[in-house]
Symmetry: C2
Subunit: 160 residues, 2 copies
């Protein structure tokens, strides 16, 4: 593999990376203004709300969020202080702990979700035709599967 | 507009947002391991290297990076300490200042770029066929233009 990109692919990469970073900043601004949540807060609330019993082991949650253990601890502590989650020992492993969604966390998510979805539609999804939606799904489904496989088979960079 | 997404679009959004966040984390891990740079460091180096005279006003740089003034100040101070950029008064406005790429900054970028491009290829671009590249460019060029227009006409959320 040469260490360069042809100009068409370089332009595609640049369009994607620049617009995506701008989008994530804009959507986080929207979330904070509408619901006083960060992107990470929102993502944690969604993941816990969808998990069985509305709880996940800290290690599982870190993997899903692609957070280091210390970053997750910080994130969950901040959400605990705001009453959105609690932390409990795992029933089957007393050294481990689980993040548990509180009722206040669920209500916060329920109030935030319509604003967040409106923001998703306004900024991106309403602008795409059906072919573009299909293309987006295809590209990023494959990417996600590939990166999850990398994450589980090796973690050389993260552990350096 | 209803505040929901049909299931096809919801799946597309989720694939995009989850894989992109995973990708950015992976690429930042790669950058730190290969070149001891964050994503933001790398982006600043690229923007300055492409600017006339390899220098940009702080306000212009903040706009391009979608950083708040305080975040940019922090970012540039960190890069100054590492000798990658310097900060100078604007020639035509003594109250303003410019970030200026140092020779050490340019050399750092030159060394980092091949590794970073290899990472871009490995994780995303080599996997896409020509139609997918065209689709990616089309979607994210439009998105970038739209978000830049939002950023210049109103900044209601950021200023709340």
């Amino acid at each position: 593999m040469t260490e360069s990109l042809d100009s068409t692919r370089a332009a595609a990469w640049r369009a994607y990376i620049e617009a995506s970073q701008r989008l994530f900043t804009q959507m986080e601004d929207d979330l904070r203004a509408d619901s006083d949540l960060s992107f990470a807060d929102y993502h944690v609330l969604v993941l816990l709300s969808e998990a069985p019993g509305q709880r996940l082991r800290m290690g599982e949650l870190a993997g899903r969020l692609v957070f280091s253990p210390s970053r997750l601890t910080y994130q969950i502590s901040s959400m605990q202080r705001r009453g959105l989650v609690s932390k409990e020992p795992c029933p089957d492993d007393r050294r481990g702990s689980e993040a548990v969604l509180t009722a206040a966390g669920l209500l916060t998510l329920t109030e935030a979700a319509p604003h967040h979805l409106a923001s998703v539609r306004t900024h991106l999804m309403d602008d795409l035709d059906d072919d573009e939606v299909a293309c987006l799904t295809r590209i990023f489904d494959r990417l996600g599967r590939r990166l999850r496989a990398v994450g589980t088979t090796s973690n050389t960079h993260a552990s350096r």
